[in-house]
């Protein structure tokens, strides 16, 4: 016990006692440090404050009754780091000698050594008599090995694009909502946007989701390939924007009249705007082609069914995509 106390006391004395400067050799490496005893005191105080802040971290972490842990933990560790930083900077400014020195930049080049290396490499190849052929061999071996090393990466995924055209829509498939309840034509109101999926299909698949809206029949301008794609004024389009593939979740029913008199489907990512009355044609924004349309029918029970597949590929375009594609 007495020994421990002695050790403790001598430790305290060593820590607190001002160190007597040991005898120094005459030539100093560094210029004399600026003599700011106050600064040293400040730096030491900052270090202890940093220690206190850091010590708060486990307290906040373990004491269950402390609320808002994220904030207090952040304060504790953040302030501890900042006080430590402050201590170091105070020491750097006022306790540790700061010199401004001049050095020569390294030489721009080492001509002798450059010459040596070049000659070394040149001379090492003197023994070859058919140098061209050897180089060809090297290139062949390296190239073939490189190709062989890359081939396993082909397993990452399919390289073909046929899958990109696929959608789960088929003739006669019922439209269901997110909870798999079939959509009834009578429940589709004007000025509202409905999202529907093919019954039994994977809802996450790109070709699954469609937007369904009801428009006055007189306002429809469906012609050409999409003629008659509506069912009693109800139209359905792929929900994925043909620009960058985001879901089209905004429906501007004519609330903006007279400035924007027509209903419009809008993608919130880059504001491509499509006209649901006109076969999903683009009226504003960066989309390059119209929305693929799904032909609809109303069955005997008043439920909505697909009369086939979309009239074009869903989602964003790619090199060589066929804009119009007959339904399978």
């Amino acid at each position: 016990m007495g020994k421990a106390r002695d050790a403790f006391l001598s430790g305290v004395v060593l820590l607190l006692g001002r160190r007597r400067t040991p005898p120094q050799p005459d030539a100093h490496l560094l210029p004399p440090a600026p003599k700011h005893t106050r600064a040293e005191t400040v730096a030491i105080a900052l270090l202890f404050i940093a220690a206190l802040c850091a010590a708060a971290f486990p307290v906040v972490y373990f004491v269950g009754s402390i609320p808002a842990k994220t904030q207090y933990l952040g304060l504790s560790i953040g302030l501890a780091l900042l006080f430590l930083a402050a201590a170091l900077i105070v020491a750097a400014q006022s306790v540790i000698p700061t010199e401004e020195l001049a050095h020569a930049y390294p030489p721009d080049e080492h001509e002798e050594d450059e010459e040596y290396v070049a000659r070394l490499v040149e001379e090492s190849g003197k023994g070859f008599t058919r140098r061209g052929l050897f180089k060809l061999g090297l290139v062949s071996a390296g190239g073939a090995l490189g190709v062989a090393a890359l081939v396993p990466a082909v397993s990452f995924g399919p390289l073909g694009v046929e899958e990109f055209y696929g959608t789960p829509w088929r003739k006669g498939r019922r439209l269901v909502d997110e909870n798999d309840v079939p959509l009834r034509a009578d429940d589709i109101d004007e000025k509202a946007l409905y999202t529907a999926f093919p019954e039994g299909a994977d809802k996450e698949e790109q070709g699954s989701a469609v937007v369904v809206v009801r428009l006055p029949r007189s306002s429809l301008k469906l012609s050409g390939q999409v003629e008659g794609y509506d069912a009693d004024g109800i139209v359905a389009y792929s929900k994925l924007c043909t620009h960058a593939g985001c879901a089209i979740s905004l429906y501007r029913a004519p609330l903006f009249a007279p400035e924007e008199p027509r209903p419009a489907l809008v993608c919130p990512c880059h504001y491509s705007t499509f006209d649901p009355a006109d076969g999903g044609s683009v009226t504003f924004g960066p989309a390059g082609r119209r929305l693929p349309m799904l032909p609809l029918a109303i069955d005997g029970k008043g439920e909505l069914r697909a009369r086939g597949n979309f009239d074009g590929p869903v989602g964003p375009s790619w090199w060589g995509v066929r804009e119009r594609r007959p339904s399978p």
């Binding site: 170091l88 401004e100 996450e204 620009h243």
Partner: protein, 456 residues
């Protein structure tokens, strides 16, 4: 004690001569030289916090139902990945602090990298013999942008998914190989296969960080081998570098800066909310939300996508180059192409093949400054255009009107800004010359007066 350690190290490694040189390596002093250092320290915080997060993140798209403490999401279907990040934010003690600090560090990292790039560009620090340092730096910026994007994509919240599908569409638009490439990377068309999130994960925590760390090391080694560049001064010349030695002068200062950066990041992580993913909800391909914005460093790309009028290159019923290519792929390609080739373009224009250890002030080179300001204006305008939907909500300015304004402005204003910047540079230099002449004339006049006085 110190002698013993030094002796041990030297006898085991023989590095005392190297240490002696390295400890006296000089750091020229200027505030703008600290920007790169800040980036380095933010990267260290990113690695440290990132390692912690890997112990909790689950890289799986497996569908699960949420039963955690956050009531609004209870009973919802989501991926295991998203649930694991909810758990990091809600149930792991100190998890939210580390996650938010990580996200803040990513923001500060990129901001520091970009400001550092501006500093290097506008002072001509990339000139011979430091071109390789510049090329590596530009490459790191590109990797860092991708790394950050992948980082918030793999969380699989609604914002992640919306960002990811846009990236997918941009990839898809690449001529000839886009669809094959994306199908290959995602394992089929979006949303891809079960392997997608594990792939994003390994890219985010291994491939990209290792690439960045290797390039970072190379970047610093190259800086040290050629020594820092410096501004011209009374003692600073092309042959002589003036600075504070690594030890003892620079070490506590740099450590202080590192701890300050880390301290500020942890304060931000603890006190300032960032990317509250529990508010976004899980991603489904058929869901999106209005008013979504990417993290700021990708704002220039969403701006590019929004500004570009719908323009697909088509032949008959076949699309060749889809619209997202222009704003999402070609635009950043042009910007990065400019950054990569600029040192060589400038050399061609000026015929300057000399060694440069002294930096230019921006005004010293009106052409470079003008072109740089033009480029920055161009990218910045596109960046601002990316937030025009929020401007409409906040200030009621018509979205379509704003887009048309920006479509014209991005063609006109960069040229104007570049010319104005170059003119300002020339005026500043001229002003300095006038000042100089005046001082010389005054001195001469005073001398002459004095000599006349003497004669009289």
């Amino acid at each position: 004690m110190i002698r013993k350690v030094v002796c041990y190290v030297d006898t085991r490694t023989g590095t005392a001569p190297f240490l002696r040189k390295a400890l006296r390596y000089l750091f020229p002093d200027h505030w703008s030289f600290l920007l790169g250092e800040i980036a380095l320290y933010a990267f260290i915080v990113l690695v440290a916090t990132g390692v912690y997060l890997t112990f909790f993140f689950v890289d799986s798209r497996q569908d699960v139902v949420y039963h955690g403490p956050y009531a609004p999401l209870q009973g919802q279907h989501m991926s295991e990945a998203y649930r694991s990040v909810l758990d990091i934010s809600m149930t792991v003690k100190a998890g939210l602090l580390i996650r938010q600090t990580h996200h803040w560090a990513a923001n500060v990292f990129l901001a520091a990298v970009i400001l550092h790039l501006f500093r290097v560009f506008f002072t001509g620090a990339y000139r011979k013999p430091r071109e390789l340092t510049w090329l590596i730096g530009v490459t790191m910026l590109m990797l860092a942008l991708l790394e950050a994007y992948i980082g918030y994509s793999m969380v699989d919240d609604l914002m992640s998914g919306m960002g990811l599908v846009i990236g997918y569409a941009v990839g898809l638009s690449i001529p000839f190989v886009g669809a094959n490439l994306m199908g290959w990377l995602f394992h089929g068309p979006f949303p891809g296969g079960a392997v997608l999130i594990p792939r994003l994960y390994i890219a985010h925590v291994l491939i990209f960080p290792v690439l960045i760390a290797v390039l970072l090391t190379l970047h610093l080694v190259l800086v040290a081998l050629r020594h820092h560049s410096q501004f011209r001064g009374r003692r600073q010349t092309e042959r002589t570098v003036i600075g504070i030695p690594l030890y003892p002068g620079q070490t506590p200062r740099s450590l202080g800066l590192m701890l300050s950066v880390a301290g500020v990041l942890f304060l931000l992580g603890g006190l300032v909310q960032i990317n509250p993913i529990w508010l976004w909800g899980p991603f489904h391909t058929y869901i999106s939300t209005n008013g979504a914005q990417p993290d700021w460093y990708l704002g220039w790309l969403i701006g590019g996508l929004r500004l570009m009028p719908g323009f697909d290159v088509t032949i008959g019923h076949y699309t060749l180059i889809p619209g997202p290519f222009w704003g999402g792929a070609l635009f950043p390609l042009v910007v990065f192409g400019f950054l990569y080739f600029w040192p060589y373009v400038e050399r061609k224009l000026t015929g300057d093949v000399a060694f440069h250890n002294l930096l230019d002030r921006p005004r010293d080179n009106p052409r470079r400054t003008g072109i740089g300001v033009g480029m920055v204006t161009w990218v910045f305008l596109v960046f601002v255009a990316g937030s025009s939907d929020r401007v409409q909500v906040l200030f009621g300015l018509s979205y379509t009107g704003q887009i048309w304004f920006y479509r014209v402005a991005v063609l006109v204003l960069p040229v104007v800004a570049g010319l104005v910047a170059a003119w300002v540079c020339r005026q500043l230099v001229r002003g300095e010359q006038i000042e100089e002449d005046r001082r010389r004339a005054e001195t001469e006049g005073r001398l002459e007066l004095a000599s006349r006085f003497d004669q009289a």
